[in-house]
């Protein structure tokens, strides 16, 4: 299923951090995914989110994942009052498709209930301008900090100069991708809140891609040509310490999704509403669930599989015709990440619980 050929780039990982604790990828629940769906979660006609339904979905999912009887106990599996928590959202498709404030707000309420002060909770992403489009501030608890690593596009000041992956893909001069400085200097825990989307280069963008390409600088260089380096770069970045050890929980936002042209909504016809969230600590397992979901949807729409690599399906430009794509997609990046020890890809070893509310 890896669907990749050729030699991999030579990566050099530079970090002063060592793995720590039992948390982090794949965490205490390898091979485990909890999918919670509610028809009430989204009103498709008005494209609006029901915050109350989302809160219930999160509560049910967290209790199912941990076996706890209450929310406080469930969240205490991962977070303690002394933590400083970064919530890694995905705003790359804003305003049409991004980590929904209703879900992020519910997560924050639980963190505060556990005892984490609001001013030690950060909503963060790479690009400040995209965070501003979503405008989380008025929609979440007062005092929560919102931080974009790049207040000006391309600025490296929000990144840690001592934690990076160095690789030369195609002769580019800047060969470093640096970790967001908040992750290495400030956060003790990270909660990953990706969206569930097709991605024209990576195949899908879920847990792995959100935590990898969303936490490091200078990553777009990996997909400048039809044949990209997303296959190995995503997992390599996700495995870098301290990001790997500090990311204790993944909550995939599948309230809205898109099945073509991602990560941006290039046409409303590609938007659909799975009305679900998927929780777990194993990003590989969760992304496998996502992969199956997007494949199913594309099949229903008559679109080629994400694993299609034929030149007859390649065409540079806006991906408005689902038969074509600008890149050879690399959904095999998920299985590749499993070879780095980040999680379980083998379907036979995955336990997925589906809950309908």
């Amino acid at each position: 299923m890896l669907s990749h050929s050729g030699t991999l780039p030579e990566y050099r990982v530079v970090t002063r951090f060592q793995p720590s604790g039992k948390m982090g990828f794949p965490g205490p629940y390898p091979g485990r995914a909890v999918r919670v769906r509610s028809e009430r979660a989204v009103d498709a006609a008005s494209n609006s989110i029901n915050a109350s339904a989302v809160k219930s979905m999160l509560s049910r999912g967290m209790r199912e994942l941990t076996g706890a009887t209450g929310d406080h106990d469930a969240w205490s599996h991962f977070i303690s009052p002394s933590d400083t928590v970064g919530i890694k959202v995905n705003c790359s498709g804003a305003p049409e498709i991004n980590s929904n404030p209703e879900l992020v707000s519910a997560i924050i309420d639980n963190l505060i209930a556990v005892g984490v002060p609001a001013d030690r909770i950060y909503i963060y992403d790479r690009f400040e301008n995209q965070l501003k489009i979503v405008n989380f501030g008025p929609k979440v608890a007062a005092g929560v900090k919102i931080s974009g690593a790049e207040s000006a596009r391309g600025s490296i000041l929000g990144y840690d100069p001592r934690t990076y992956v160095e690789v030369n893909f195609f002769g580019e001069e800047d060969t470093r991708s640096n970790l967001i400085r908040l992750v290495s200097d400030t956060f003790t825990k990270v909660i990953n809140v990706p969206t569930m989307k097709e991605h024209r280069a990576a195949g899908v963008t879920g847990c792995l891609k959100n935590i990898a390409y969303g936490d490091f600088s200078n990553v777009a260089r990996s997909h400048q040509k039809e044949k990209t380096n997303t296959y190995s770069f995503i997992g390599t970045l996700a495995a870098v310490e301290p990001l790997r050890s500090r990311t204790v929980l993944n909550i995939m936002d599948g309230l809205r999704s898109l099945w073509q042209g991602g990560p941006f909504l290039q046409s409303p016809k590609f938007l659909f509403f799975p009305k679900q969230i998927v929780l777990g600590t194993d990003p590989v397992t969760l992304d496998h669930v996502l992969l199956d979901m997007i494949e199913d949807k594309r099949k229903k729409e008559g679109a080629p599989s994400l694993f299609e690599r034929g030149a007859n399906h390649l065409k540079r430009g806006p991906e408005l015709d689902p038969q074509y794509n600008s890149f050879i997609r690399e959904p095999g990046h998920i299985e590749y990440a499993s070879t780095l020890g980040l999680g379980v890809f083998d379907k036979a070893r995955i336990k997925e619980t589906v809950i309908e509310l």
Partner: protein, 278 residues
């Protein structure tokens, strides 16, 4: 409107050219800047840097004339000429006059140090246009070289256009040739790396115990370079930065590990000098 009535001597090698200056005896230099060729096919999406570095390295004793209109280009031209130590007459307009004078005053204050260029590549220049473009790409990639007549064993690499390694047939793509030079030298041996900008060029000089790095932001007219990570081969325990058009410049995240000195320059507006000492 052209100004500059008095050709004032301001620095040893940089003069301000009057509007009616006789430039026939001077070699023409390009206006230092960045241009974007969005509608042209190219191998990369990189912005096009109009640098004179290769001209100045080809003719270190030459006398140049640079037309540099606007608030940024004239100051940039002066900084560039100073970094390469060449004679340049700069002609600017109303907007450029004050920044140019300010830059010349800055450079006058900054003089000092008995420095020679620090390079580890030799380039056998046949004087052709193709060799010129090849050198231009090396400058833009901060692959530090000097022109040599023949291979110099003291250098890590000698580049001879037209040789089997760098055949004339490949001259149509100087970017690929520059990439080949980079590969043959290896990144580990590069004297200078600049991360965080495609439009900043560095010039490194030194004398064994001390060194100075000139940083030129060719994109200054569009925006400052917000955050540059610089890696210089060699350990320099002292670092100090001064910058034209910026009152104070602090280097951050300095490290001197693994035989290299690294630091971050939080913002580069137009031109900076980093003084280093062991």
């Amino acid at each position: 409107m052209s100004v500059l009535l008095a050709a004032a001597f301001l620095l040893q090698q940089i003069t301000v050219a009057p509007a009616n200056a006789d430039t026939a005896q001077l070699s023409k230099a390009a206006t230092p800047r960045v241009t974007f060729h969005a509608n042209e096919a190219s191998a990369t999406r990189a912005p096009w840097v109009d640098s004179n570095g290769w001209r100045y390295l080809r003719q270190p004793d030459g006398h140049f004339y640079c037309e540099a209109p606007g608030a940024t280009a004239a100051a940039l031209a002066a900084g560039e000429a100073f970094a390469y130590g060449v004679h340049v007459a700069i002609h600017t307009d109303d907007a450029g006059l004050a920044p140019l004078n300010k830059m010349l005053a800055f450079l006058s204050d900054a003089k000092g140090g008995d420095f020679s260029p620090l390079v580890n590549i030799g380039f056998v220049d046949d004087g052709s246009a193709e060799a010129g473009e090849f050198m231009n790409l090396l400058v833009r990639r901060n692959l530090l070289f000097r022109v040599v007549k023949q291979a110099d064993p003291k250098l890590d690499l000698t580049v001879t256009p037209g040789s089997a390694e760098y055949p004339k047939a490949e001259a149509v793509n100087p970017s690929l040739l520059a990439e080949k030079v980079r590969g043959n030298l290896t990144d580990a041996k590069r004297l200078l790396r600049i991360y965080g900008s495609e439009v900043v060029v560095g010039r490194l000089v030194g004398n064994g115990d001390a060194a100075r790095l000139y940083l030129i932001n060719y994109g200054a007219a569009r925006s400052p370079a917000r955050g540059l990570r610089v890696r210089i081969l060699g350990t320099f325990s002292k670092q100090q930065a001064v910058q034209f058009d910026s009152a104070e410049t602090q280097l951050t995240d300095v490290s001197t590990d693994s035989g290299a000195t690294e630091f971050t320059l939080p913002e580069l507006k137009t031109f900076a000098m980093i003084n280093l000492a062991k």
